[in-house]
Symmetry: C2
Subunit: 150 residues, 2 copies
């Protein structure tokens, strides 16, 4: 699952002023690889098209970077690419579909909440197993081996 490691800005921001930044710089700032940035665009996650220079190079502006970061947040909660694309489409369609966007987000939140609960539950089980091993190791050379089990 795509590691996101945005670098904190240092220095005077490479030619940021009114021109936007290169894809390499966007990658550095969002923590998303240039490959993935282009992939996200191809995949339709980037609703509002990123600007281009005369020569065809992408120029990322603040709003683009923020959108990308939002995408990474949604991904980090397990939202599939397809769903993010749908959301991007709604957003790019402009005003009038806020109910739909809200429904999409609420549906996702419900799923995330359900998964969280499930993971927490199963984590409890793992914790118990850990406790068993800890106990077994504490009492290691005590009696001649505990019960079988796993």
């Amino acid at each position: 699952m795509l590691e996101v490691n945005p670098q904190p800005e240092s220095g005077p921001a490479p030619s940021d002023q009114r021109a936007g930044v290169s894809i390499a710089e966007a990658a550095r700032r969002t923590g998303v690889s240039v490959h993935t940035l282009r992939y996200y665009e191809r995949a339709g996650l980037v609703a509002m098209p990123v600007g281009r220079t005369a020569g065809g190079r992408r120029r990322y502006h603040q709003i683009d970077l923020e959108w990308i970061v939002l995408c990474t947040r949604l991904r980090a909660t397990g939202m599939p690419i397809k769903t993010i694309r749908r959301y991007a489409q709604l957003v790019s369609a402009g005003y009038g579909n806020e109910q739909e966007r809200l429904a999409l987000l609420e549906a996702h939140r419900a799923e995330v909440a359900a998964r969280l609960a499930e993971v927490r539950e199963n984590l409890r089980l793992i914790d118990r197993k850990i406790d068993v091993y800890r106990g077994r190791l504490d009492a290691d050379t005590a009696v001649g081996a505990g019960p079988d089990a796993e």
Copy 2:
């Protein structure tokens, strides 16, 4: 991610006595498909080999079913197949490697905890977005459209 829907036992358990159950029955009881049961075995997740009939059919006993269920729990927390295999190997190697098992489980728990925290954090962000949409919709026909944003 593999849906696990174990069926609650009903009735007198189809020929359960001292013979173990068929793969179909094991699938029903664990909520794992027969395909996946075989796949898990091939993949080395099932340390202690499942018994076979004279004719070569698998017979699942209680302990086998419990192990499978454990695998589903580990999977549900995101443990990769590889790691479960490693764990299975340790378990099948018998006594003497409890430290290693413990370390494996603790490492996994740490990862799960970290992911949980991350998801919770990002979920908060989504919640805020939901609130924004809710607010916007509440005040729908109020002023002529809010600020742009996403």
